[in-house]
Subunit: 469 residues, 2 copies
Amino acid sequence: MTPEVSASLLLDLYELTMADAYRREGIADRRATFSLFVRSLPPEWGYLVAAGLQDCLSWLQGLHFTASDLVAIDQFKIFHPDFLDWLSELRFTGSVRAVPEGSIVFAGEPLLEVEGPIAEAQLAETYLLNQMTLQTTLATEAARCRHAAQGRAVMDFALRRVPGTDAGMKLARCCRLVGLDGTSNVAGAARYGVAPSGTMAHSFVQAHADETEAFRAYARAFKEATVLLVDTYDTPLGIERAIQVAGEMRAQGIELHGVRLDSGDLGPLSSLARRRLDEAGFPGMTVFVSGGLDEYKIDDLVERQRAPIDGFGVGTSLGAAGGAPTLDSVYKLVSFGDRPVRKTSTGKATWPAAKQVWRRTDWSGDLLALADETPPGDCYRPLLEPVMHSGRPRSRGQGDLAEASALFEREWLALPGPLKRLRTPALHPVQPSAALLHLTATLGSGQPGPGAGEQQSRLRADRTRSASD
Amino acid sequence: MTPEVSASLLLDLYELTMADAYRREGIADRRATFSLFVRSLPPEWGYLVAAGLQDCLSWLQGLHFTASDLVAIDQFKIFHPDFLDWLSELRFTGSVRAVPEGSIVFAGEPLLEVEGPIAEAQLAETYLLNQMTLQTTLATEAARCRHAAQGRAVMDFALRRVPGTDAGMKLARCCRLVGLDGTSNVAGAARYGVAPSGTMAHSFVQAHADETEAFRAYARAFKEATVLLVDTYDTPLGIERAIQVAGEMRAQGIELHGVRLDSGDLGPLSSLARRRLDEAGFPGMTVFVSGGLDEYKIDDLVERQRAPIDGFGVGTSLGAAGGAPTLDSVYKLVSFGDRPVRKTSTGKATWPAAKQVWRRTDWSGDLLALADETPPGDCYRPLLEPVMHSGRPRSRGQGDLAEASALFEREWLALPGPLKRLRTPALHPVQPSAALLHLTATLGSGQPGPGAGEQQSRLRADRTRSASD
C-alpha cells in the first residue's frame, strides 16, 4: 500500500520523463552543465550565506534506485521496463563546482554548477534546489538576526514552528554555520555541536500551585543554569518572585542565571527587569526575551529602544516559514555538448555557459565570468571550487561544518557594513565579464526574447544604491 | 563527532529540563492534560483542515531514547546520571483525543488533547506542534487552491521550493488528503498514492538545437501523455510548433495531451493557446499553466479572466514557505492533577480544562465545552474522539489516509460557502459553553490578567461578519 522509497526518489516526475526521452534519443550521456543560482534577492536582503552543499553532495553520491523504488516507479504505468533497467544501473558520475558553505554570495551568482551526462545532471535538479534554497534561506535569516543583535546572544527556538523536521535539523546546522549561540532543538544540538538552550515553559509554572514554588523547584534542580520565565501571570510580579527565589538560592551559595520574558512590551519590561534585578543586588543575572521576534524587532529593541537585553530566543522567523522571503532559486541548463545555451523566456532570461565568480579582494564588486576565462588579476579571488569529481566528493571529512563555520566568520568580518543593513541594504555590484557579454550577445541574436543586458538590469531592480553610500 | 540520534530527540531542551524538575519533585507521574490548538486564523483564512495526527501518534508510540540519544544528552553536561536512567525507561503511556484528519476546525478549537503523566505529555509538545502546524497549514493551503480552481485540476509542483524534504513529503500526503489531482514529487506519489504529474522542463527544449525537434523527441517517447512546454523562447511561436508536432503525431494515430505555459501573462496566453489549438483542429488538447501561482492568482484567472485553463501546477505557495501564513498554534497545559489551569499572559490567555468541540449539524456554529459535559443535544456532534489509549493507538491500519480523505470530502461538501471564501471569509461562531465560562471565571478571579471573555473577543478580532452574510 505505502511502499518505502529511498531518498533518490526525492525528485520531480519530469526529471524521469526527460531522462527517458534523452535515453531514447541516444543522448542521455551527452555532457551538460547546469547552474544553480538565485535570480534576485528579497528586497531587504543585501547578501546570501551559501549553505546546503554537504547534503547535496551526499545525495549525489548516494544516488541509486532501489528495487522498491523501481517497483514504485513501475506502478505509475508511465515507463517501459527498459527504462527501469537503465535506471537500476544509474549512478551520479558527474562533477560539481561550488561556492564553499559559509561563503557570501549575491543574486545571479552560481552557488553550484553540475557537469555530467545530461540525464544524471537533470535528475539532481529537484533535490539540489530543495536543499540549497532551504539552507541558504535559513543561514541568511540567522545571520541577519545575529547582525541585529549586535553581539548579544541569539538562540534558535524555532523547532516547533519550522516547517517539518528536516527544516528543523537544517536550521540547527545553520545556527552552527553562522555562529548563533544556541538551539532549543535537542537532536540538532547533538547532531551539529550547537549549544543546547532552554529552561522552562509556562506550563511548568502552571503545574505548580504558586509561581514562587515553581521557581524554587526549578532552581533547586538546575542551580546556576536556572533562567526563570516570569510572564505566566503578571510580569512585574513574576520579576519580584524571581528576585525572592534568587535571594533564597544566594543564601545557599547559588547564583541564578537570569529571567526570561515571553510576552508583552519587551522593551519597557526588560528595562523593568534589569532595574529591579540591579536594585535587588543581582546585577549578574541576565535578561532573556522571546516571543514573535525577528531581525527587525531585535534591531528595534537593541538600536532604538536600547533595551538592556542579554539574549534573544527567535522562533518562527528563523524557520523559513510564513513571513520569511522565498528565494527565487533556479537550476538552469547553461551548456549542452559543446554548445552554450540560455533561456530567453520573458523575465526569466539566463546567462549561458559554465561560470566562475571573481570577487575583488576589497569587496568592491564581483565579476561574473566564463569558467574558462583567464583570471582577471591579482585583486580578484575565485569563489567556485571543485567539490566533486566523477561522482566522488573531494572529501574534507567530518571537519566540513567546522571549516564552513570558520569560513563564514572570515566572510562576516570582511562583508561591508552597508551590505549587512537590515533594510535598504547597499547593492553589491556584480558585473558580467566582456567575454560573457559577448557570448550572450552571439546567442541572443539568433533567438527571440530579451537581450543580454536584461538580467543585469533586473538584478538591480529598484536598488540602485551602491555599497559606498 | 556527529552522533546519530533518534527522532525522539526532536524536542526542545526545556521539555527535558522540566521533566527532570518534575522527577526531582516526585510529580513526574501526576496526570496532566495539554490542549493543542490554533489561537487565531490568518486574516484571509475561514477554516483549517486538520492534518498531521497520524505522524504524531506514530511518534508518541515510538518514543524512547536510544543509547546514542542518552550519550548525546549526557554530553550536554546539564543532567545527572539518574535522570538519564529515568529517561532510558521512558515510554509514552498517555492517551490522546483528537479531531480526525481531514476535519474542518476553527480558531481556539483543540486539534488534539494529550492526557498522561505530565513529564511524558510535556515531552511531546515540540514534535506535535511541529507536525500539526506544518500539515494543517499545507492541507488548508491546498484546499484553498482546490476551491479557487473550481473543479479544474490542481497539481503540487512544490518539492523544489518547499522548506526541506519532510515538508515536501507531507505536502504530497496533504494533496491526497484534500483531493488535489497530482504531485510532481515522485517519492510522495509513491508513498501516498497520489497521481504523479509532470512532463518537461525548459532545459529539455534548450538541450535540442530546435524547439520543434525537442517537441518531436518528447512526443515520440510519451505519446498520448505528452504535454509540451511552449514558453522557452517565444510563447506564440511555441504554440504553433506544438500544433505542428501534434499534427505530425495525429498522422501516426496519436493524440497529444496538451501544452503548458510557465511564464508571461497567463490569462491572454492561455486564451491564445486555446484558440489556436481549436482553430488547428485540436479541441481535445488541454492547456496547463504554472509559474508563481497561488490561490488568489488561480481565482483571478478562473473567476475574473475566465481563462480557458484546464489545470494549474502550484509551487511555492503550496509549500508553507514565504508568503504562506504561519499558524499561531500552541500546546497548553489545561489541567494538572485534579486542578484545571489556565494561562493569563497578556494577549495569550487560554481556556482551562480538557475540552470537547460540539458542532451544530447544520454548520451554524460550534460549542467549545468541557470534555465531561453532558452532550448539548441532537443537533450537535462531537469532533474529538479517542485515538490513543495508554500509549496504544486505536489503530485503523493502512486505511487511515484513505479514510481521512473520504472524511475530508464529506466535510468539504458540508462546509458553507461563505467560510470557503478566499478573502474576507465569514466567521464561524465558536461559543464557549456556560460551564466553561463559569469554570474560567472561577479560576480567573484568583489570578491576575485578562478576564474570561478576552479570548473569545480576540478570536473574532476585526472579523465580525457572520456566515450568513
